[in-house]
Structure formats: structure tokens, C-alpha cells
């Protein structure tokens, strides 16, 4: 094979650095063999540089490429999608390293590095990740500079300095572009699954199985209220409604509420939608959520939104038009006094009284009994809650396992459980008594961060409660857990579990676990505040946020105005930069000899004998000598040195005749200048 082109040393060093730095963040996601291939290719290239090995022959490369693609296909089951795509990109990057026969090939390798950086942002968007990627970009720029240096330049440090300067100068311009380039909504819809499980809500609840959710300290979402937030006991963030029970599991049923016609745009004015914004106590806020890979959103009932791309479902939830795979923010308006489905359609009533045909005889018996004693639904609800309160029910994250007639076992035997046990049993009893009811899953409460005045909702705030349909009132929220463990609702799950010590017992290193240690808590909140600012102002900088932000300074914004501002700001930034870059050259004489002579003139001018305009050095010399006869010789020599150097060069056009001579001349002039 042709080995004629060698990537210059400076470039190769930075290329390898950037390659490994760029692939490192993908490391945990990539299969181990792919990392081995990367190392092999990098090592091979180094050996080629050291002339120990040759570049692989055509058929070796063919085998490598073919088996690489086959391995990716075998590993991911597809060649498409971000996961497999990233793996292919990285493979291509490594293989291209072994196929550089020209400067252009080397350029392609370098530029692929930028792609690898860009794909990393599919998975990581934290501030730390962004900073690290900026470093990777720096190494890529260094590799690119190395590619354009002469082979004489072999000092990678100098190349890096140059790259650093370029990067630093680019950053202000990047910020300007980031702020001013008009954001547009996606041109076409693309979904990326993260391919790995995320912690979060599940759309199936099986009371009696092990509780996992309450133990994760991860952040679910943040909320920023435009006014003082409601009392913590009213913060019920609805996400899912489960109206089907099969004897063990509560689930979302056969009717898909997330599809047309059960889910429609927030603006589409279906009759049932008009019930939402009815009464006062209006709260407007913005939710900034972590990716869930699900479409459901979190909001306080009854919720609507000013974001026109959101959907509303028939069970009054907010929904995104595609799975949330990136940090996502949306605006919500909630009216906490609501009346929903005051006139309940038959099909919905039926759906919400559904129970398995048989099972849990004791619970059914109890429900019938209580219903007979009650004159209204409200009374029935009160009696059931009283039952929970009076009997020795315990709130715990370590309930015993249930099997068979789970509701009966829970209500009459174990009497231990957490939110989903209580919500499930409550809804079962209601339905058994013929009252429409359903289980709602979401989050309850949250932690205020005093630094930014926003609410943090963690995964351990996940909660399940019930909604009961009451005649003339419509759907009403009932939280049976609040009756058994009031502290769960008022102070959060941590207080409710204080005696049990099971709060985040698996997350030993999570700072959230040490919320009650003041300095850890303060540090954690400060860090989260920075992160939140990052999410809101950088990651969440979309069409809406941009127009909001810019209209604060520039007044009403449209795309034309934005375009003018963008061009103007880029121009100003470039102008400032070019002044910085070229300033040393402006107004500075490039002729050192002339500069020295002018210095001499200034020195003489201070002694009250200035050179007149247009006066030749010779005439000036005569005047100077008359004034200071004792310095005549020095003055003469200096003027001669200047004249010879300055005018002699111009006459002969013989610049190169004496670089050394001209330097000696300058030295001599300096000496004389000092002596004067």
C-alpha cells in the first residue's frame, strides 16, 4: 500500500489525544470490543508513524470494515438509530485513521472528531460534559493546526497554544450566535430512544411487589413558579391515570388515553377541555424535566398550557407529542379549584367502576357494608379513610409480599404498605361500592431551593393517590396515605420514614440522603442551582425562551429583527476581535531604524530644539551641532548611521545585504542615544 503521506507529528499527537478524549464519554455505552478496536487502530497508526508497521493492505481493511459492521449489527440488532449510529461513526473514525494516504484523508479524520463530539450530546448534557467536550474540541483544533504546519514545526505545545488562542477567540462569537441565531422548531420529527432504562414512574402498579422507586435520589423535574407556590400538601403532580385492575396490577387499560381522540392539542376546544380553566387560584409555572423516554408530563390538576405543541388527554393530563429524550421544559397554567366531569359520561363511569369478576371477597363485603351505612359518596369516602386511620395501618417501604387476594391480605392481615397499597385498596373499595374511582400516579411535594426559588422534585417523591367521582363535584382527589402518614404529604417521604431509617438506604453516597446535615444540604442546593441555571438558560434555550429573553432587551421580536441583530452582533464581535488581533500593527512603524531616529528627535525636542517639519536630518544635525558643539561627534555619527541605513537601503533596494549590519547599526544608535 501507498505510505507516501505521513500525518505530521504535531497533528498525529493531537489527533490521537482528541480521538481518545472524544470516545471516552461514549465508553460506558460502547461494547468492549469496540474500544479494543479503537485502541488497536490508534496503536497501529503510531507504529506506522514510527515506520515499524505498514498501513493495512486493502483486503485486511475490507475484512476489518466488514466484520466491524457485522459486529455492530449483531450487537445492536440494527445499523440505524443513535446508539448503533454512534458506534458506526466511532468505528469509521478509527478505520479512517488507518486509511490516510493524503492530507485530505487526514482532514476527514479530524473533522469526524467534531461529529463524535456532537453525538456525545445525545446522552450527556450536563455542564461538566459540555466543558469536557469543549476541551475535546480544543484538541481537535490543535490536530487541525498541526495538519497545516510545516514539517519543521514539531513542538506540540506551540500548536496547542495556537489552538487555545483560536478557541478563546471563538467563544464570545459562539455565545453571540447562540443567543441571536433564530431558533426554529424541529424540521422533522426524530426520536431517539436512550436504549437504557431510566428510573422514573412506571405505568403499572402492583402493590405487593418490591418498592424501588422511593429509593432513588435522582432528580425528576424542577418547577419555577411565577408566584408564591401553593402549600406543599397541595403539590400533587399528576402524570398517569390507571383505571384497570386485574387482581394484582393497576394499569392504564385498553383504551389508549395518549392517542387521538382521547388526546388532543391544548388549543383544540373539545367540549370536555372547556371545563379545565374554570375557577380562581390560578398558578402559572414552568416545569423543566429530565428525560424520561415517555410522553407524559407533570402538572397540578387542572392543568392547561400556553405551549401550543402540548396535548391534553381525556383524563386531564398534559402530554408531549413525542417521548422526552432530552431535558425538556414547558409552561403550565393550573387552576387548583376545579370541577371536572361533573356530568360523567356512561362509558367513563363504566370504565372507572371496572373490577375483576371475582376475588377479594372480604373487601367486597366491607365495601357493601360501608356503602349501606353512607348516604353520600363523601360520607363513604370519609368512612373508608376513618377505617384506615383507626385500624393500625403502618406506612413502610418494607411491606411484606402479597399474593392471591392481595387487597384482602393487605386490608385485613398485613396492614402495612406505602402509597400504592393504600391508593389501590381505596380505589378497590370505592369501585366495589359502585363509585367511579381511579389510581393516579405522579409525584407529591418537592424541595424548595431558596437560592433560585424553585422546587426540586426527586424520584423518591413519587407517589400514588386516588381520584373519586362525586356527584355535582366531579373528580376529587383523595390521598389515603395522607391519613395514615400525614408527614408524608406535609414534610415528605423522609420524615414519614424517619423511624424506619429506610430513606435512601441504598444510596449511601447520594448527598440527598444527608439533607439534614446543613452544610451538605447547602452545597447540594447551590450546585443544583447552577445546574438549574444551565438547564434553563442553555439547554432549554428554545424558540419560546429566546423570544422571551430577547424581547426583554429589544422589545417586540420577529425573525427579521432577530436576523439583523444577529448579523450586527457578529459584525461587532468580529470587529472587536480584529482590532485586538491587528492592533499592534496599527500606528507602529515597521522600520526600527526610523523609530530610533524619531526617538532621538523626541529626546532633542525635550531639550528645546525640535526638528522642524520637513527638515532633513542633515540640516537638523547642523543646528544641533551649533547648539551643542561638545556633542558634535556623537550627533554626527548617529545621523550618519541613520542616513546610511535608511536612505542607502532604499536607493539600492538591497534589503538583504546586511541584516547583521543593520542590527549592529541599531545597537550603536542606542548606545549613542544613551550617552546624549
Amino acid at each position: 500500500m501507498d505510505n507516501s503521506y505521513q500525518i505530521p507529528r504535531n497533528s498525529l499527537i493531537w489527533l490521537l489525544v482528541s480521538m481518545f478524549a472524544g470516545i471516552a464519554p461514549h465508553m460506558t455505552r460502547l461494547p468492549i470490543w469496540l474500544i479494543a478496536v479503537c485502541l488497536l487502530c490508534g496503536g497501529w497508526r503510531v507504529m506506522v508513524y514510527r515506520s515499524r508497521w505498514r498501513l493495512p493492505s486493502r483486503w485486511v481493511k475490507g475484512v476489518l470494515v466488514f466484520s466491524g459492521i457485522a459486529a455492530v449489527l449483531g450487537h445492536y440488532g440494527t445499523l440505524l438509530g443513535p446508539e448503533a449510529g454512534t458506534a458506526l461513526l466511532i468505528l469509521g473514525f478509527c478505520f479512517k485513521l488507518l486509511e490516510t494516504h493524503s492530507r485530505r484523508d487526514a482532514f476527514v479524520v479530524v473533522v469526524l472528531g467534531f461529529f463524535v463530539v456532537a453525538t456525545a450530546f445525545f446522552y450527556q448534557q450536563s455542564m461538566v460534559a459540555a466543558g469536557y467536550m469543549l476541551f475535546v474540541c480544543f484538541t481537535i483544533v490543535a490536530a487541525l493546526i498541526g495538519l497545516n504546519q510545516t514539517p519543521l514545526q514539531t513542538h506540540p505545545g506551540r500548536t496547542a497554544r495556537r489552538a487555545g488562542i483560536l478557541m478563546l477567540q471563538s467563544l464570545p462569537l459562539m455565545v453571540v450566535l447562540f443567543i441571536f441565531v433564530p431558533r426554529v422548531t424541529p424540521l422533522w420529527s426524530l426520536d431517539i430512544g436512550s436504549g437504557h432504562a431510566r428510573t422514573g414512574l412506571s405505568d403499572r402498579i402492583t402493590p405487593g411487589d418490591i418498592a424501588q422507586l422511593s429509593r432513588s435520589p435522582e432528580l425528576a423535574f424542577r418547577v419555577q413558579f411565577d408566584q408564591a407556590p401553593p402549600d406543599p400538601s397541595r403539590l400533587y403532580w399528576r402524570a398517569l391515570v390507571m383505571d384497570q385492575y386485574d387482581g394484582a396490577t393497576w394499569s392504564r387499560g385498553d383504551l389508549d388515553m395518549d392517542q387521538e381522540p382521547m388526546a388532543v392539542g391544548v388549543r383544540s376546544r373539545k367540549p370536555w377541555q372547556s371545563q379545565i380553566a374554570l375557577r380562581g387560584e390560578r398558578y402559572s409555572y414552568r416545569v423543566i424535566m429530565e428525560p424520561t423516554d415517555q410522553r407524559w408530563l407533570f402538572a397540578l390538576n387542572a392543568a392547561s398550557s400556553t405551549d401550543t405543541d402540548l396535548l391534553q388527554t381525556r383524563d386531564f393530563r398534559l402530554l408531549a407529542d413525542r417521548p422526552i429524550s432530552q431535558p425538556f421544559s414547558y409552561a403550565v397554567v393550573s387552576h387548583l379549584n376545579y370541577q371536572l366531569d361533573v356530568r360523567l359520561p356512561n362509558w367513563l363511569a363504566q370504565k372507572n367502576t371496572q373490577l375483576p369478576a371475582a376475588g377479594n371477597p372480604r373487601a367486597r363485603q366491607l365495601a357493601r357494608q360501608l356503602a349501606q351505612q353512607s348516604s353520600s359518596v363523601e360520607q363513604l369516602v370519609g368512612r373508608v379513610l376513618k377505617l384506615f386511620q383507626e385500624q393500625a395501618f403502618i406506612y413502610t417501604l418494607r411491606p411484606p409480599r402479597l399474593q392471591g387476594d392481595r387487597i384482602d391480605q393487605f386490608l385485613f392481615d398485613s396492614q402495612q404498605g406505602f402509597c400504592s397499597h393504600y391508593a389501590g385498596a381505596f380505589v378497590y373499595l370505592m369501585r366495589a361500592a359502585g363509585v367511579p374511582a381511579r389510581v393516579v400516579a405522579g409525584y407529591q411535594g418537592g424541595e424548595m431551593n431558596p437560592l433560585g426559588d424553585y422546587l426540586l422534585v426527586h424520584q423518591f417523591d413519587a407517589h400514588a393517590w386516588a381520584e373519586v367521582w362525586i356527584p355535582q363535584k366531579g373528580w376529587s382527589r383523595v390521598d389515603p396515605t395522607a391519613v395514615i402518614a400525614p408527614s408524608r404529604v406535609e414534610q415528605g417521604v423522609e420524615q414519614a420514614l424517619a423511624s424506619e431509617q429506610s430513606f435512601l438506604e441504598d444510596s449511601f453516597f447520594s448527598p440527598v440522603r444527608y439533607r439534614n446535615v446543613p452544610w451538605i444540604s447547602q452545597m447540594r442546593l447551590a450546585l443544583d442551582y447552577i445546574n438549574f441555571a444551565w438547564h434553563r438558560s442553555v439547554l432549554g434555550y428554545d424558540v419560546k425562551v429566546q423570544s422571551q429573553f430577547l424581547s426583554r432587551f429589544l422589545g417586540e421580536i420577529d425573525i427579521h429583527k432577530l436576523g439583523y441583530w444577529m448579523v450586527g452582533m457578529v459584525g461587532v464581535t468580529l470587529a472587536v476581535l480584529s482590532i485586538v488581533l491587528f492592533w499592534p500593527k496599527i500606528g507602529r512603524s515597521r522600520d526600527p531604524l526610523l523609530a530610533l531616529y524619531l526617538r532621538f528627535c523626541r529626546k532633542m525636542a525635550k531639550r528645546k530644539l525640535a526638528r522642524e517639519n520637513g527638515e532633513s536630518p542633515g540640516d537638523y544635525l547642523l543646528r544641533l551641532q551649533q547648539r551643542w558643539p561638545d556633542k558634535a561627534a556623537q550627533l554626527q555619527e548617529l545621523t550618519n548611521l541613520f542616513s546610511e541605513g535608511h536612505y542607502g537601503d532604499q536607493r539600492n533596494g538591497d534589503k538583504h545585504s546586511g541584516t547583521r549590519g543593520s542590527q549592529q547599526r541599531q545597537q550603536r544608535i542606542k548606545v549613542i542615544l544613551k550617552s546624549l
Partner: protein, 327 residues
């Protein structure tokens, strides 16, 4: 037909040449500035722009702010590198230096002097003449550098090179800044020496009864044992390498008399005659003989040495010639 097709092109070339000569007139020394530097993206640069567009579209479609951020960073790098690439040429002073004459078919040497702007490094600057190889220059440690440029010459007479292209893609290779400089430099091109026998007519008509030690034109006669004091240039190194013994080459030369190289002694057409004369000038110079040169209208009195030979070669080069360029 072809001329019809060629005309617009020729007109364009003429126009651009005129335009260039107004902007960049012929000079001995000039400093590159914004009036003289052109800058455009390279093919790599266009590829780079396409790539960042792809990242930008990805950022839009995945609503990924950081991906957009990378695209913006790449745009910024591109814009900044316009300034840097331009700055890499700007302020550079190029001056004409010494030239070295050459024979037809050889490379003439042109020395250029590059002087960088104060407190600025100029890196990876390529100098090329339309014909001939380019030179890569760095001005990093010292602000000044002499560059030796080789340029093949094909025609006898005065030679002045066409415009010099000075270009750079540094630092990122995404943009190329360049300028066309008309350097006021020229050299002489001597006729290509063509080997030939010393014309017999010259022996008979020789002025001072030249006799040859031996008939036969060729100089090399044989080898003799080396004796200390023999001219070291005559040592037969090839034999020494083979046998390990030192021999001196014996030359059968003409007696150390003045010799005349006479135009009239040849019957060939002009260029061939000049080439043959050129051969003898070089040969007699190398053997350190005294010789004179007669051309129609020109007579150079016999003499010896480098200076004399140069004088003769110049006369040959300029014989009936006008100024030629390397077209």
C-alpha cells in the same frame, strides 16, 4: 472555432491581468495589505461548512442546544480563522534579492527576502511561481528570512519571472489567503552548451600559430601513476575506488596559448552556433585556458577566469535577443 471559444477566456485573462497590474504593480519590494490579499474558502473549508450544517440540522431536529452550540463554535472558528489566515499574510514584506543566471534547461536561482510584521509570527507560507516548485516558509524565531527559489528556464536571453503566488492556509486549512506579486527581478539565460569538436578552421587561422600537442579533439588521453603535486582535480577517483591505487588522468590539451572562439568558424543556425560556443566557453573556463570571443559586431579580448567567462556567456545570452519571459 477554437479561437472563438478561447476569446472570452483570453479577454478575461487580459482583464484580470490588467486589474492585477493596477493593484499590484511590478516592484522590488512590497508589503502585503488588505488591498493586495485575496481570501476564499478552500475545498476543505467547504466540506467543513457542510459538516457544521449537518450538526446544526441535527441540533435543531433533536432540539439539542449543546449540539447547536457545537455548530456555533464551528462557525465561530471558521470566522475567526478568516482573521488569522489573513493576518498570517498581512504585514509581510517581500523584497527581491540576488539572482543567479543559468543555462537553458537548468534552474535559475532567485533569492527573495521575507520580512515579517513586528511582533507577529508568519507560519506555513507557500511561495510558488507558475512554473517551478514551491517553497514553504516559516517566520517564527526570526522575523526575516531569505528564500532560495528555483525556476527552470527554457529560452536564451533575459528572463524575468511572471507573477509570484504567495499563499497560506494556516492555521486551520479552511481558508486560503493569497496574493500575486510581480517581482521586479530578472536573470540571464545562457545558451545550453552543446558538445562539439574544436573547429579545425580555428587551428589554421590561429593568430599565434597554435599547435596542438596531439591531434584529436578529446582531452582525456590515459592514466599515469599519481605523483605528489599533480592536480587533485585530475585524480581518477573511479579507478581509486576500484583498485585502491591513485592515478592521475592525462589530458592532451592545447598549448597554453590564447584561443579564439569565433562565430565564423561554425556554419550552423544561430542557436546551435551559440550553444556550441557556450560549450567551449565553459570548457575553457574549467580548464583555466585563456580565450577570446568573436561574435558579429562584438569582440571580447582574450582573458581567463570566472569574470571573463561570465562576460562571454552574457554576450552569448544577449546575442540578438530581446527580453523574454517564461511564457
Amino acid at each position: 472555432m477554437f479561437s472563438l471559444l478561447r476569446r472570452p477566456r483570453a479577454i478575461f485573462q487580459q482583464w484580470s491581468e490588467d486589474w492585477l497590474s493596477r493593484r499590484l504593480p511590478k516592484s522590488r519590494s512590497l508589503t502585503l495589505n488588505q488591498r493586495r490579499i485575496f481570501i476564499l474558502p478552500t475545498r476543505d473549508g467547504l466540506g467543513y461548512l457542510m459538516m457544521l450544517t449537518a450538526i446544526f440540522i441535527g441540533g435543531i431536529n433533536y432540539a439539542n442546544s449543546l449540539m447547536l452550540g457545537i455548530a456555533f463554535l464551528l462557525v465561530s472558528l471558521f470566522l475567526i480563522s478568516i482573521l488569522h489566515t489573513y493576518g498570517n499574510l498581512s504585514g509581510l514584506q517581500i523584497s527581491a534579492g540576488r539572482t543567479e543566471n543559468a543555462f537553458v534547461g537548468e534552474d535559475a536561482v532567485f533569492w527573495l527576502s521575507l520580512q515579517g510584521a513586528a511582533k507577529q509570527q508568519h507560519e506555513s507560507i507557500r511561495l510558488t511561481w507558475q512554473s517551478g516548485a514551491g517553497e514553504l516558509v516559516d517566520l517564527i524565531e526570526s522575523p526575516q528570512q531569505q528564500v532560495r527559489m528555483l525556476l527552470p528556464v527554457h529560452q536564451r536571453g533575459h528572463f524575468s519571472p511572471k507573477r509570484l503566488k504567495i499563499e497560506t492556509c494556516f492555521p486551520l486549512g479552511l481558508l486560503r489567503a493569497w496574493s500575486w506579486i510581480d517581482m521586479d527581478m530578472s536573470c540571464l539565460v545562457y545558451p545550453k552548451p552543446i558538445k562539439n569538436a574544436y573547429p579545425e578552421s580555428l587551428y589554421r587561422n590561429g593568430e599565434e600559430g597554435d599547435q596542438l600537442v596531439q591531434e584529436g579533439s578529446d582531452d582525456f588521453d590515459g592514466l599515469k601513476d599519481y605523483v605528489a603535486g599533480d592536480n587533485p582535480r585530475h585524480i581518477a577517483w573511479k579507478n581509486y575506488a576500484r583498485s585502491g591505487d591513485l592515478y592521475s588522468k592525462v589530458f592532451v590539451g592545447y598549448e597554453d596559448h590564447e584561443r579564439w572562439l569565433d562565430w565564423q568558424a561554425y556554419g550552423d543556425e544561430i542557436e546551435l552556433r551559440l550553444s556550441k560556443l557556450s560549450y567551449w566557453v565553459v570548457r575553457l573556463r574549467d580548464q583555466d585556458h585563456s580565450f577570446g570571443l568573436r561574435l558579429p559586431g562584438i569582440e571580447i579580448a582574450p582573458g581567463r577566469g570566472e569574470q571573463h567567462a561570465r562576460h562571454c556567456l552574457e554576450a552569448l545570452a544577449l546575442y540578438q535577443s530581446q527580453v523574454l519571459t517564461d511564457g
